[in-house]
């Protein structure tokens, strides 16, 4: 498992490096349209060819990967921060607080994510900027993803409160926020990190599904999800197999994230 984890981290590091510095592979910007080079097959200048608007597919793939690999971790981190705050607060609450927490967490956990995100995209103003749409989509993901991690963290916090060192700390008069951050958080941290790695591939996959349905990151922005839309035509995929590159990269990135999440869970 250690070898698999190292390999997964190496894959993620390479993809991150290439997407952070796309100039290492291609100098073209992702949204520039080369009107004389429309729908070209792969070549030295365009390693994955060009699309219907004459944009360099490789540049779009790398920029799209950057969008997904920047925003999905940011959303996963935000959801874990939310989960820690709510879970730690609920872990120290009374019976009613725990019951309320369970009901709200159950409700949030039962929400059909894809449908909520589709609904949110549909409800956004028509004149909403691509940046706002992208930010709102990922923020919504963070708001939907707190329930699972919060339940794990609450159970851990409730368990920690029964331990000798926390009883002693409370007997010495410590309580509230200071008690949570000083005594509980250091023990909760490895579990929270594992929850981050669990949420990360889920968020990337949800964005990919949204992109396939045409309700993901809007044009002209590129993301791993909206690059998959080209796969909807059977003829295109058969005639231009290089269109599968985003799917292959997505699978590699998500597989690597899953492997890290599985090993992180074991160590936590």
């Amino acid at each position: 498992m250690r070898v698999a984890r190292l390999a997964a981290m190496a894959v993620l590091a390479v993809v991150l490096l290439l997407s952070a510095f796309p100039a290492l592979v291609t100098a073209d910007p992702s949204d520039e349209q080369f009107r004389n080079d429309i729908d070209l097959p792969p070549s030295l200048r365009y390693p994955l060819g060009t699309d219907d608007l004459g944009r360099n597919r490789m540049a779009r793939l790398l920029h799209g990967t950057r969008t997904s690999l920047l925003l999905a971790p940011a959303a996963a981190a935000l959801s874990v921060v939310l989960a820690c705050s709510i879970g730690l607060a609920a872990g120290g609450g009374g019976r009613i607080a725990v019951r309320l927490f369970e009901s709200v967490a159950d409700l949030t956990g039962s929400l059909p994510w894809l449908l909520m995100l589709i609904g949110l995209r549909a409800a956004l103003p028509l004149e909403a900027s691509p940046f706002a749409t992208t930010a709102i989509t990922f923020a919504m993901l963070a708001l939907l993803g707190w329930a699972g991690p919060a339940r794990v963290i609450r159970n851990l916090a409730a368990n920690l409160r029964e331990r000798d060192f926390t009883i002693q700390a409370r007997a010495l008069g410590q309580g509230g926020w200071r008690f949570s951050t000083k005594h509980l958080l250091p023990h909760v941290w490895p579990v929270a990190a594992a929850q981050f790695w669990i949420n990360l591939p889920v968020f990337i996959l949800v964005e990919a599904n949204l992109g396939l349905l045409g309700m993901g990151i809007p044009e002209p922005y590129a993301s791993l999800g909206n690059q998959l839309r080209d796969l909807e035509s059977y003829q295109s995929v058969m005639n231009k197999p290089w269109l599968l590159a985003p799917a292959v990269l997505l699978t590699a990135v998500v597989s690597a994230s899953w492997i890290i999440s599985l090993t992180a869970e074991e160590t936590a």
């Binding site: 009901s103 709200v104 159950d106 409700l107 039962s110 929400l111 059909p112 994510w113 894809l114 449908l115 909520m116 589709i118 609904g119 949110l120 995209r121 549909a122 409800a123 956004l124 103003p125 028509l126 004149e127 909403a128 591939p201 996959l205 990919a208 599904n209 396939l212 349905l213 045409g214 309700m215 999800g225 998959l228 796969l231 909807e232 059977y234 995929v237 799917a247 997505l250 699978t251 590699a252 998500v254 597989s255 899953w258 492997i259 599985l262």
Partner: protein, 288 residues
């Protein structure tokens, strides 16, 4: 927990979810910035005064508390209002499409559950080692594909859509089940059964799986919820007329009453499945 308190909790949870879910879904769709925007606002020739007047009218309709209460009462009676596009009752639209979605979700969940569970039993209990690694790697790949891509693969290869939904469910079942089985494999009574020479299939069928009744029941519920989520892209991309396709179309055409109703119904369905699959663990005969 006694059956009476379980039933009471189920009813309380359902009531809470019905009210809170209705409120949350309605608020979400009514208070988002786009609630006041309509595609017809893009009609060329509309002056800014006309646009503002139209928006003010919509705002008046949307933000009235009485309207919201009437909406909730309607939902509790099963009346989800009318589609803003076709004018047809939303409940009728959903009922027409429910059988197709129920079939897709049911068969996809069953396929995924059976495949994931059987392969987990085979990989963890019967053939541990290399076969386990191979199956795990295969399922990891499947787990890394969005449901939409699995659906496209099924459409291109002319395979039934149910297989694509099953393929979205199976890896999740496999990873959860294999973890449970690996834990149970090392339990004292299982090791004792192995030591007495009982075969792995018999151990799996008679010793390990019955002890995991509660967890497997939860897994069955989880399969249905996962299949429900996979059905949305499946129906949207394949054009199969189900509730998922209805939701997707209503989102594309900004038909909010339909979207809210579908979201609520799927939320309640998934919550009901989760609560019903919450079977108490089996009492151990050897418990102190």
């Amino acid at each position: 927990m006694s059956p009476i308190s379980r039933s009471a909790r189920f009813l309380a949870d359902t009531a809470f979810l019905l009210v809170a879910g209705s409120l949350a879904a309605t608020l979400l769709f009514r208070l988002t910035p786009g609630a006041e925007t309509d595609p017809s606002d893009l009609t060329p020739g509309l002056s800014s005064e006309s646009l503002e007047a139209r928006r003010a009218e919509r705002r008046k309709t949307l933000s009235t508390t009485g309207q919201s209460v009437a909406y909730f009462v309607g939902i509790l009676r099963g009346d989800f209002g009318k589609s803003t596009l076709s004018g047809a009752p939303v409940s009728g639209l959903m009922l027409d499409r429910a059988p197709a979605t129920a079939w897709l979700v049911g068969s996809g969940a069953l396929l995924g559950l059976v495949a994931g569970l059987l392969l987990a039993v085979a990989a963890v209990l019967i053939y541990p080692g290399l076969p386990e690694t191979i199956v795990t790697t295969g399922f990891l790949g499947l787990l890394s594909l969005p449901a939409g891509l699995l659906v496209l693969a099924a459409i291109f290869t002319r395979l039934p859509l149910e297989l694509a939904v099953g393929a979205a469910v199976a890896p999740r079942v496999y990873f959860y089940a294999s973890r449970l089985l690996a834990r149970q494999r090392n339990a004292g009574y299982v090791l004792q059964a192995v030591a007495t020479g009982i075969g792995p299939v018999r151990i799996a069928a008679l010793h390990v799986l019955p002890a995991l009744r509660s967890e497997l029941s939860a897994l069955a519920g989880f399969s249905i919820v996962t299949a429900l989520a996979a059905a949305i892209p499946a129906e949207a991309l394949s054009g199969r007329p189900g509730i998922g396709q209805l939701a997707w179309r209503s989102a594309m055409e900004r038909d909010l009453p339909v979207l809210v109703a579908v979201t609520l119904c799927l939320l309640l369905a998934s919550r009901a499945v989760t609560l019903l699959s919450d079977v108490p663990p089996r009492e151990s005969r050897f418990a102190a």
